[in-house]
Amino acid sequence: MSALTVTDLTVDYRQRGGSRFRAVDALSFALEPGQTLALVGESGSGKSTVVRTLSRFVKPSAGEILLRGVDAADGVERGLPRGRRAKRKAYHKTMQLVFQDPFASLNPMHTVAHHLRRPLLLHGGHRRGPKLEAAVLDLLRSVNLTPAEDVARKHPHELSGGQRQRVAIARALATDPKVLLADEPVSMLDVSIRLEILNLLDRLKQDRDLALLYVTHDLATARHFSSQIMVMYRGEVVERGPSDQVILHPAHPYTRMLAAAAPDPTVSRAALAEARAQRAALRDTRAAEHRESVLDQGCRFRSRCPFAMPVCATRPPDLPAVKGSVPGAGAGGAGHAARCWLLDESAAAAPAADSAD
């Protein structure tokens, strides 16, 4: 059984003046225990809204969220305690999250110990006393914060960014969750400690058989720390598949551009200059402003897409329609899919240009 199954999740935000803005559009995915799924996207892609919706800060306008086979919304319930409050509590126990900004996710007024005691009291069946304190210290040790006794007494401002993020992770683990949502857990941290935090998450995932959703804008760590990748653009998934497949053989022009934009220190100067010239040519004569504009119908990426064709003005086929049909995907391409007219045999012959390299 998947730890979390999301089907056709749609989230709309009400804007001033009554109009609606679709932040997430019919998103479906599943999280498996012991596996990491990376959700990659830029700001405005809707990836944070996904996390907020799964954490129940935002109400979805459509779609189904099944947490260990149980509907998160009111409806079918099996094995969960009765009553809305109890159900909500069970949900929160099972799913926890780690925030992006460790400077904002800990309450400046409270000690580290307070942050860890609360989930233990709420969900761990603990009572105040020495046992609780021991559990707090255990949690701190499990995220390599030692000496735990000292750290527990401190206030957030006395800790470094990395240490704070470890506390935030410990807090999320305190309820002994099955699903962990990590919303850009390292993007606010110093470069040199990012990998340590990601390694910690990876180890905890394995030790505790967690289903991990790793939300990020960084393709490189997404590839190295997850087995599957979903790429989101303006509210919809444009490409998904095994991480090596998606990164090494990107099918959607957006993923290709993302991959090409990532700095690569090993490439020579000449190659860099060439890539730059290529990008400039692809950007052609369109003004920067034009490239950033939002289009209502059709492919949402087409204003920036170097391969945009007339057919792009109509909506590209949904993901399942091209499942596993990425041209040239070869072996290991199973489950690799992209939402683009270029990959649709019935559409105009796709230019084979691969701007990624």
Partner: protein, 352 residues
Amino acid sequence: MIPSTGTETRDDSSGLGTDLVLRASNVSVEYAGSRPTRAVREVSLELRRGEVLGIVGESGCGKSTFAYALTRMLRPPARMTAGVVEYYGRDGEVIDLAALSGDRLREFRWNKISMVFQSAMNALNPVTGIGSQMDDIFRTHRPGMDKAARRARAGQLLEMVGIDPRRLRSFPHELSGGMRQRVVIAMALALEPEIVVMDEPTTALDVLVQREILDEVERLRAELGFSVVFITHDLALLLEISDRLAVMYAGQVVEYAPAEQVATEPLHPYTRGLLRSFPDLRGQRREMHGIPGNPPDLREALVGCPFAPRCESVFEPCREITPPLRAPAGGWPVACHLHDPAHDDYSSEGGR
């Protein structure tokens, strides 16, 4: 002294000039306090005409403070306690920045050195239009230009960075993040300065926009021939765009190297660690690890190498003797005992 505002082409914009345009020697900056923070410690760097000098380091390493010192923008409680910053004009004039004051300092600013700030949203006055803010620059520095000329030039600058000149009438909040950063860059180039200091200019932007902006900067540099001091925490990015780079740690430069070579054979263990912290997008899957520990408190007196507590190659002299920034034979300056011939007997075993 003031360059003309026309778009004349520079004869030496094609290749890297080897002559100096800015030299900082032994610059130290302190933040006053009950225990003063020595944020920048005797940093010496040179900027050549037309090159991109990268300064990389993590938060609190002093890179931004150093940039502010270069541009005479330090404000109390920060103060430059030692060192000299000299500007070398094309016509052979040498200006000691510390000696400038009042109107001469104002005249020097933006004409010779301009800046691109980290957050474009915050670097633009939110309540006045883009055009009016560009106009201020010309009004102050080019009193000879009439209104129409200023307007035309401002429009031209916007076009240069790929923005519709009609946007002059817009307010900052009406533009997207990438557009705002383009406007800020256009402003930085308004007076065709010799040097543009860029402090994390793309950190807040999305990957694609970041790439576009960097391409734009590269193109403009080729066209206009200015030098860039590029400050960022993103070493991978810097390796790609800079000619030479300085790695800063705990207020000091620990490695000062040609960018192309440092990518493949970094000398300082900190640089190595930083490089390793950027996983290669397409490379082999491997064991990932960063640099354990935290940087030192700059309010404390530092004994020995400041990186020693986090260093994987630490050996005897590191904890007592502060390594000087010195170039080993055939190499580039690095502040590490591993590359000091005096400690050869250790470094052979303690090295990588």
